[in-house]
Symmetry: C2
Subunit: 427 residues, 2 copies
């Protein structure tokens, strides 16, 4: 394969003509495929259907402690579900609050509470002239949208193979009192799929924040979402590391079963220090009498324990691997050597991250759209929707079938090539 | 019966001795009963158990529109559940957002959103020097706690037989730009059980708020919670009345099925104008991808329509009536003519409200507690937990059995008498 950048103008023009022909052919086919969001596929949803039989009209509705899940009570979740999710997060049950169906909701509420009420008695962020968050990029668009809604200033931090650029993180956090938080997806990161190294986790735990109300928002959304049985990432326990480092209150860990049981009908949780839990309690017990405990019971009884969760995740992996591999196979065989893009090879999570030649991402996404393939909007993986390089594209291979993924990736590759040629021709 | 106030000092002292003997006897019995919170009883919870069979592993999980309830989507709720709750609220489906398990949570989030983001573009309340809410009293403690948490100033408004004192409401709302809201439980009010008259609802709709971001928080928690089949309260449709009066955006209506299906595992909703829905959407779609749609489907399929809801509520009523009547019977036969208290006779809802002689409520609640009968804390029905008269006590007859309610009310009556005698003796 000859790299596009080494081609002559004539070669590029000839290539462009041939790609345009392919494009027209594809246009006539009229596809309709969505690779935009990390939605589980239908076959994955089917895996959890037996969960819906676990609780029925003849079930014992009491928790192990004898509390009736059908009535009010247990604002922090029923014991067995707290235990299940604590084990999933490798933390102690007493550090966990099990909430409703959405960890995004917990994260939003955590930022909102900090805005209106402060953090453990600190000045409410809404009363401050400036509040800043560090945002490793590329990252999760919904994290950024929360900050944007509240008018919190976002600072891009490059995300590397082993985690965020920690020199930069330390410089900001340890020297700027306006920096109040950082978003992290520490394992099988959204969208790059990388996991934080032990050194990175330890450097996080050993931050010396200038702001006492600085918090790490540790969104462990893909903690047990491995693709392979033998080759799995593991990350250090941030809560434990923070305790060791004398920063016990510095982190909130978020998780949910949205991509384990059902998106929208799962259970979510936050794990943090007792002091932070007391702080959350003041707000949460005013906000709600309790979350859906019948659904918590359903989850606790269906999964039973960590073995049950892991066995279930193996079934997800078996369905997801072919989709990821279909994408990677086409990217490898069609783009290797052309020097018009690079891509990640995640061992878990929900996304593949593609970096096009600078200045090409928007054009690629638009071209795909016109051929009926919807991708996450270019720029969405950056604060304010602005990718300074216009390069990153998030590919979500989970929802379509493997066959559809092949078709969609073939279209994607075509659009990458065409956009790159146009760029090199200065169009 | 001779009124206590007409008794001589000797008569009161003799009465006191005999009541104290009764008290000691009761003390030895060692009861343990809770009339503090409006929890449905176990027999009520059993009514909804068949709902847990409606969705199982062989169910069609698609909505009528063909959306898969198991996956992400439908941030404002699935169509059939919006339709069901819209009918329950007598509003149009398009005015309804169906949310999670808790209407309190929607109310909290509505106040919180107003604090951080403002209302339809108004200045966020957190940026204002003063924010005030009107609080009809006695009222629902959890409403007041939300305002207290956010530091919003609460102004007591007397609640009468037909609703809040509207002269006072108009004076505040129409002349003070700091007044941003009012809590209403318009039907079978918590705790007095009264319902708003048509005139009161119309006066609400015709308010001319000084603040453009003034909103009525219309918590229709007991909209279909009648106790009697033939004698039911009905209230005017506030959303319609507000539209007619040229105040289409002035009201949020809240409801839930917490006391229809399961507390904590029901569905909740807000109904409001399209403009307000757009305002809510901006925040809510950032906060959450969607609420629990499988549970929404479960509710929609179980209740089907308004007839289904009403048939179900008749079963609740049959269980609740004997409990309310047990309390009223004992209050009537033991306290009538003594002039040491008055009480309401609600035709629906979850509470009976008792007004003791001024200065006696705390003492009564403390005495009951020492005999093992837990009541809602005295003062809880007022902002900041301060009843200026120390008079109101909320009785929640729903959770205990009718037999237990009789025992508990007998204790209550004894404590009312003893506290009143002590008061009259100047102790």
């Amino acid at each position: 394969m000859k790299a596009y950048k080494d081609m002559s103008r004539e070669e590029l023009l000839a290539l462009k003509r041939s790609l345009e022909e392919e494009f027209e052919t594809a246009e006539k086919k009229g596809m309709s495929l969505n690779m935009a969001r990390g939605n589980p596929g239908v076959s994955q949803l089917a895996l959890s259907m037996p969960m819906l039989d676990v609780i029925n009209s003849s079930s014992d509705m009491n928790t192990l402690l004898g509390n009736d899940t059908r009535n009010y009570g247990d604002w922090d979740g029923i014991g067995e579900c707290r235990w299940l999710l604590a084990n999933m997060m490798n933390v102690k049950k007493d550090n966990v609050i099990v909430c409703g169906n959405s960890s995004l909701n917990i994260m939003f509420d955590t930022v909102s509470r900090s805005m209106t009420l402060g953090v453990n008695g600190s000045t409410p962020w809404s009363k401050l002239d400036q509040v800043k968050f560090l945002c490793p990029v590329p990252g999760y668009d919904r994290h950024f949208k929360i900050l944007e809604l509240f008018g919190i200033e976002m600072i891009n931090i490059p995300l590397r193979e082993d985690g965020p650029d920690m020199d930069l993180v330390e410089r900001h956090v340890n020297h700027d009192a306006a920096v109040k938080g950082i978003w992290c997806v520490p394992k099988y990161s959204n969208p790059t799929g990388i996991s934080y190294s032990d050194e990175v986790v330890r450097r996080f735990a050993n931050l010396k924040p200038k702001a006492e109300d600085f918090r790490i928002f540790w969104d462990n959304a893909y903690g047990i979402h491995h693709l392979y049985e033998e080759d799995q990432d593991e990350i250090l326990n941030i809560l434990e590391e923070c305790e060791k480092a004398g920063n016990p209150d510095m982190v909130y860990i978020f998780t949910s079963t949205s991509k384990i049981s059902f998106p929208g009908s799962g259970v979510s949780a936050v794990a943090t220090s007792f002091k932070n839990i007391e702080d959350i309690k003041k707000q949460m017990t005013t906000q709600i009498i309790g979350h859906d405990k019948i659904n918590q019971l359903r989850h606790a009884r269906f999964f039973q324990n960590t073995d049950g969760l892991n066995a279930h995740m193996k079934k997800h992996a078996a369905l997801l691997r072919p989709k990821f591999e279909a994408v990677l196979h086409i990217l490898d065989s069609e783009l290797t050597g052309l020097e018009i893009g690079s891509w990640t090879r995640p061992k878990g999570g929900y996304f593949i991250s593609f970096n096009a030649m600078p200045g090409c991402a928007k054009s690629i996404v638009a071209k795909c759209k016109s051929l009926g393939v919807t991708l996450t909007g270019a720029g969405a993986t950056f604060p304010y929707g602005i990718d300074p390089e216009d390069s990153n594209i998030r590919i979500a291979p989970t929802f379509p079938t493997p066959e559809e993924m092949k078709e969609a990736t073939t279209i994607f590759v075509l659009c990458v090539k065409l956009a790159s040629v146009e760029k090199l021709l200065g169009e």
